[in-house]
Symmetry: C2
Subunit: 419 residues, 2 copies
């Protein structure tokens, strides 16, 4: 989860994104190559002279799928620059896999990416047959394997997978992908759980594991307690025997939210108002028995985040992964100098770069919890896309989900694709 | 160097200071014990019945020194709560050393300590014979050994030393100290250099060494380039083959200051205005040849510090050791998340706790440079205290130095004590 990014500071972030852009799905180039191959075998493209076998091959390989994707050619207001685009997917080459998307969430970072205020950007191209070079939106999604190329060993029809890397473009119904783009996931989970595990729970997992050496019984504190990451953090903490204090904004259904988070495993849930109250220090001392809080997770920014940092014990770490209040993290020199508070940032995209093994271990652990019923995906709203719908209907449905995702206090919006 | 501390945040800093308070100089108690010892030997305190030898011992041990110190009983405005106090120092016990102060600076942190807005505080007591429990101001100073107790092996008359720990109280002419309070320093340097090496140059040294693994040719950037730490940093950098960009505030004698810093070894010196200019990024790129800046040293806070942090390369560190602008360090989430900037604080007092070996190695290196003429103490103004002056004269001189130290753009104020 990423809040809105300070555009002025983004201007000073170093130039072009250096991350790999493993988009590899060029049906036009593939079709031309396929036709060339068949010509080499048969000396002609006329079906009339084919044997039955070669005719069957021809039709199987060219039984194309009518795919749809939400694409953008320019950065800007998502409702203005995004549109649904139709295109064809043909049978996969030997080292390719055709997949059908089962579900894809709309994450705040996806929106920032469309707006152009996100440092990692997909390449735009005309491979989907758009008039202008375009990119498909979305970074996270669950796919089912439809058809594998002849040299594919690791996947077979019906397998589930998620995207190994960012910037693939997951707001679509189908894609042709190279094998190394896919990370296998066990089947049998709710599609909404499997489709939303790559970003939010993984972010929570890494922040709890990689910064403060938390041991059983240790405390952490977080704001955005009801965010996708926040909900995951309290659940992971429960599995690992950690104790949590979660801060949420006041809202109409506060008691309901507090109960929900406590059911997930949250130990203490307080509002921002309670956080800003003078008595909070004494309260926290009672809860922790005076044990220092070692870690703070920050996706908000502004004054409440400073106050949260001030509750950390000596040598504590504050890890920032978002800025929902659209204000920077402000740290008085005294907290840095005298209390030795250390501030870091966390970006999943950076972690993904070169940590394949750690990532696989992490996903195995999280999916294990999901299958055992110990880990729930974040509260979400499902918007269904049916193959039979028109481009206009798909766009209206998508736009509605996007608007709900930006309305605040919202649940995570997940597009579920049905055949 | 420490700027003014945010008093509100200090309230949330953990309660009582846990650092050792090695003040150990109780002439009254010593005198009582000494008289008891002599009684045990002679059965009387009357000089008339002493042998010549014991009479000589008596007069040598009780030839007391008329000492003066700047003390405070309450925290508050330094000119209102500080005063000069007169007291006697007698000959040292077997395990003690009598010292004469040669020089002691007025550091901003000393002032904050008197104001009561500094987390580490000396204990107040009546050992100096004050009506109210009082502490002596100052933390840094150079002493000359006047007389050693009979069991002292490591020091002899005439040796130089600095204080091993904070909170001793160095704004005074004389003291009786246990041996382990003193760190020997080589003689023959300017007293103003030896007296000001413990805080500022050591702070610069540790910040350059302990955070960013700088290698020869690597760049760092700092604000407060003309501060005591800033001047030390450019000199240490030169010794180690590092490259520096120093930011200073605009001022009437800017060119003179730039020349002075460059003579010390500064590579690039810019004003805050130049820092805030849009072209700075391009300029810095030219200076560094595109090499990322790995470390920023911050003693200012506020917007210019944010801008400085934004000039760091990916994964860079910003280390805060002061807040002269009296504003917190503000870091946009994007710098933390996408550029992986890490923020720390540095406090010499924390480093002193348990790093005796590293400290000795550091001082050996710095003093080595000083003796070879490769390292200059920070620009300073000397105020002389003469033993013959009255308490009122000493106070007026001290107050004048203190006022100059707070006037801004000021040189370091150093009190030099003359016999």
């Amino acid at each position: 989860m990423f809040g809105c990014v300070d555009a002025e500071i983004l201007n000073v972030i170093l130039g072009p994104d250096k991350l790999p852009h493993p988009i590899y799905h060029n049906p036009d180039m593939f079709r031309r190559q396929a036709i060339r191959s068949i010509r080499q075998v048969t000396g002609s493209v006329k079906p009339a002279v084919y044997s039955n076998a070669s005719a069957s091959l021809f039709f199987r390989r060219f039984a194309s799928i009518n795919a749809r994707a939400v694409v953008y050619s320019e950065h800007g207001k998502p409702t203005e620059v995004l549109k649904v685009h139709s295109y064809k997917i043909d049978s996969p080459k030997a080292d390719e896999i055709n997949v059908r998307f089962l579900a894809a969430p709309i994450n705040p970072s996806d929106i920032n990416q469309v707006e152009g205020v996100y440092p990692s950007k997909p390449e735009k191209s005309t491979v989907l047959g758009t008039a202008e070079p375009a990119a498909v939106g979305g970074n996270e999604g669950l796919v089912e394997v439809l058809e594998t190329g002849s040299s594919i060993k690791g996947f077979q029809k019906g397998d589930w997978a998620i995207m190994r890397r960012v910037n693939f473009g997951t707001w679509r119904t189908h894609a042709t992908v190279p094998e190394d783009q896919l990370l296998p996931v066990p089947k049998g989970m709710r599609v909404t759980a499997a489709a939303t595990v790559a970003v939010n729970p993984s972010t929570a997992y890494r922040m709890l594991k990689d910064f403060a050496n938390l041991e059983k019984g240790d405390f952490f504190i977080q704001n955005g307690g009801n965010s996708g990451v926040g909900q995951a953090a309290v659940q992971i903490a429960k599995q690992w025997g950690l104790k949590s204090i979660s801060i949420v904004r006041d809202r109409p259904n506060l008691d309901e939210l507090k109960s929900y988070l406590k059911e997930l495993g949250a130990d203490y849930v307080i509002t921002e108002d309670e956080l800003m109250n003078k008595e909070i220090r004494e309260k926290v001392k009672q809860w922790t028995g005076g044990k220092p809080i070692k870690l703070a997770l920050n996706c908000v920014g502004g004054k409440p985040s400073t106050k949260m940092a001030a509750l950390l014990g000596n040598g504590g770490h504050i890890v920032t992964y978002g800025a929902m209040a659209r204000q920077p993290l402000s740290l008085p020199a005294s907290l840095l100098i005298f209390k030795d508070i250390k501030a870091h940032g966390f970006w999943m995209t950076r972690f993904y770069n070169g940590h394949d093994k750690e990532r696989q271990e992490m996903l195995d652990e999280i999916f294990g919890w999901v299958k055992e019923g110990k880990f729930k995906e974040a509260m979400n709203d499902v918007t269904t896309w049916k193959t039979s719908a028109s481009d206009e209907e798909l766009w209206e449905a998508f736009k509605g989900a996007m608007e709900k995702s930006q309305a605040g206090f919202g649940k995570k919006q997940v597009i579920v694709m049905e055949e």
